[in-house]
Amino acid sequence: MGLKSGSRDAGLDDSESDVDQSTEKERNTPQTESEEDADPSSTEIKDEHESTPSSTSSETESQRPTMDSIPYKLRRDKVNEGREQVPYFLREGVLEAEDELQDTLEELLGEKVYKSDYREASMVVAQRNPELIAEVLREWGYDLDEI
C-alpha cells in the first residue's frame, strides 16, 4: 500500500483511457432511471410509494390503500425520503418571501414545517389548481392578448 516505486501510465496517450470509460459508464446509468419518472404528473403518487419498502420495485402495481392511508410525514424515516432533488430557479424576492410563507404555515399548523415539505406542497397545490398558476403567469406577461 502507499508509495510504490515505478512508472505508471496516466492514460493520456490514449483517448479511450480507463478513466474516461469508467466516468462515461457512471454517467449513463442514472440517466435511465430519471427517464422513467419523466412524467411530472406521476411525481406525487410515486413519492408516496417509493418511501414504503415493499412497493419500490414497481410503479404500476402501486395502488395500495393500506400504505397510502398513512400520511407521508408519519411514515418517512427522514425528511426527503423518496424525493428526488431537482434544480429550482427562483428570483430573489420569491426566495425571501419563502420565509414569510414558512412562518405563516407554522402558525396555521402549530408546528415546524420543513422547507422541503412546503416547497413540494406548493407544487401539489399548483398541480391541483392550474388556473391559479395561469393567473400568475399572465402577470408575468404570458397570454398578453387576453389582458
Binding site: L3, R8, D9
Partner: protein, 285 residues
C-alpha cells in the same frame, strides 16, 4: 509520454525549483514540455518563469475555467512559452476556490442525474486537449496538501518525484506522503508510482548518511543526490529563469559545483525519460 508531479508534504524543499529545473533539462534534450502550475502560493512556477501574466484577473481565461467546464477559449491558448521548448499553464487566483467550484459542479451534475468525479477534471482537460499530440513531457506543480488540487494533479499524471530533505523532518514527510497516497488510492481507486526520490540540500554528515542509506534500502529509486545549492537556486528565483539559463547568462564565471548540479538534474531527467520509455529525440540542444 512522461507525466509526473513533484510532491512533498513538507514545504520549502524545492518542489517548484525541481519542477522548473527538470522541465528545462527535458526541453534541452529536445522534448516538448508542458508545465502546469497549480500551486496557489505566490512563489510558484508562474513566478519562477515570470511571464507577463495577471493571475488575479478573473476575466482572463484560465485553467480553473477549463477544470469546471466553463472555458473561454482553447486549452492550448492558455500556454505561454517561457523558455525554448517549455510551455507554461500559469497559476490563477481562482485555484484557491477550486474545491468550492468543483463541489458546485458535482451538485449540479447530480441534480441532473449524472455522476461527477471532482478529481478527474485535470485528466479530462488534458485528454480532451490532446496534449499527447503536442508534448512529450507534462509536469504538474501542485499544492503540497491533500485536497482537490493535489488529487486532480495525481489522477492526471499518476507519477511522482519526491524532493526530499535528508532530515528527520524529511523522513516524516515521506511517511506523510505514504498516508496521503494510501488515502488517494482508497478514495478514487488509482495507484500512483514513485519515479524517483530526490534528496536535496544533502550534507555529508553521519545523520544524513544514515537517512540516505535508509531511503536507498526502502526500494525507491534515488538516481542522484543534490548537495546544498542555495545561491544557485536563489539566483534563479531572482532572475526568474531555469538554473541552466542562469548559469549561462547570469554567472560571470562557471562554478564547477554548479555545473555538477546541472549534470545531476540532467541525469535525473534522463532517468525519468527512460522510465516512461520516451524516445531520445534526434536533435539535441
Amino acid at each position: 509520454m512522461l507525466t509526473y508531479a513533484p510532491v512533498s508534504e513538507a514545504g520549502g524543499v524545492g518542489k517548484t525549483t525541481t519542477a522548473a529545473t527538470l522541465a528545462a533539462s527535458h526541453a534541452r534534450a529536445g522534448h516538448e514540455v508542458l508545465v502546469i502550475d497549480m500551486d496557489t502560493q505566490n512563489g510558484s512556477l508562474t513566478y519562477f518563469f515570470g511571464p507577463d501574466y495577471d493571475r488575479g484577473d478573473p476575466n482572463v481565461d484560465n485553467l480553473v475555467r477549463h477544470l469546471v467546464g466553463r472555458p473561454k477559449g482553447e486549452f492550448h491558448d492558455l500556454a505561454i512559452e517561457v523558455e525554448e521548448g517549455i510551455d507554461l499553464i500559469p497559476s490563477h487566483n481562482m485555484l484557491e476556490d477550486l474545491h468550492e467550484f468543483l463541489l458546485n459542479e458535482k451538485n449540479q451534475a447530480e441534480n441532473f442525474g449524472e455522476s461527477y468525479s471532482m478529481y478527474h477534471q485535470l485528466h479530462r482537460v488534458l485528454s480532451e486537449a490532446n496534449v499527447r499530440d503536442k508534448y512529450d513531457v507534462v509536469i504538474v506543480d501542485s499544492a503540497g496538501k491533500a485536497g482537490p488540487i493535489l488529487y486532480n494533479a495525481l489522477v492526471a499524471v499518476r507519477n511522482v518525484v519526491i524532493p526530499f530533505e535528508a532530515t528527520a523532518k524529511g523522513q516524516e514527510s515521506i511517511e506523510g506522503l505514504d498516508d496521503l497516497v494510501d488515502g488517494l488510492e482508497e478514495s478514487i481507486d488509482i495507484d500512483v508510482g514513485v519515479l524517483a526520490v530526490l534528496p536535496i540540500g544533502y550534507k555529508d554528515t553521519r545523520d544524513q548518511k544514515e537517512i540516505l542509506a535508509d531511503l536507498r534500502g526502502s526500494g525507491f529509486s534515488v538516481p542522484v543526490v543534490i548537495g546544498e545549492r542555495g545561491s544557485l537556486m536563489e539566483g534563479c528565483w531572482k532572475q526568474q529563469c531555469s538554473p541552466y539559463r542562469y548559469v549561462e547568462e547570469h554567472r560571470s564565471r562557471k562554478r564547477d559545483y554548479e555545473t555538477e548540479t546541472l549534470n545531476q538534474f540532467d541525469e535525473l531527467a534522463r532517468h525519468l525519460e527512460r522510465e516512461a520509455g520516451l524516445e531520445i529525440p534526434e536533435v539535441t540542444a
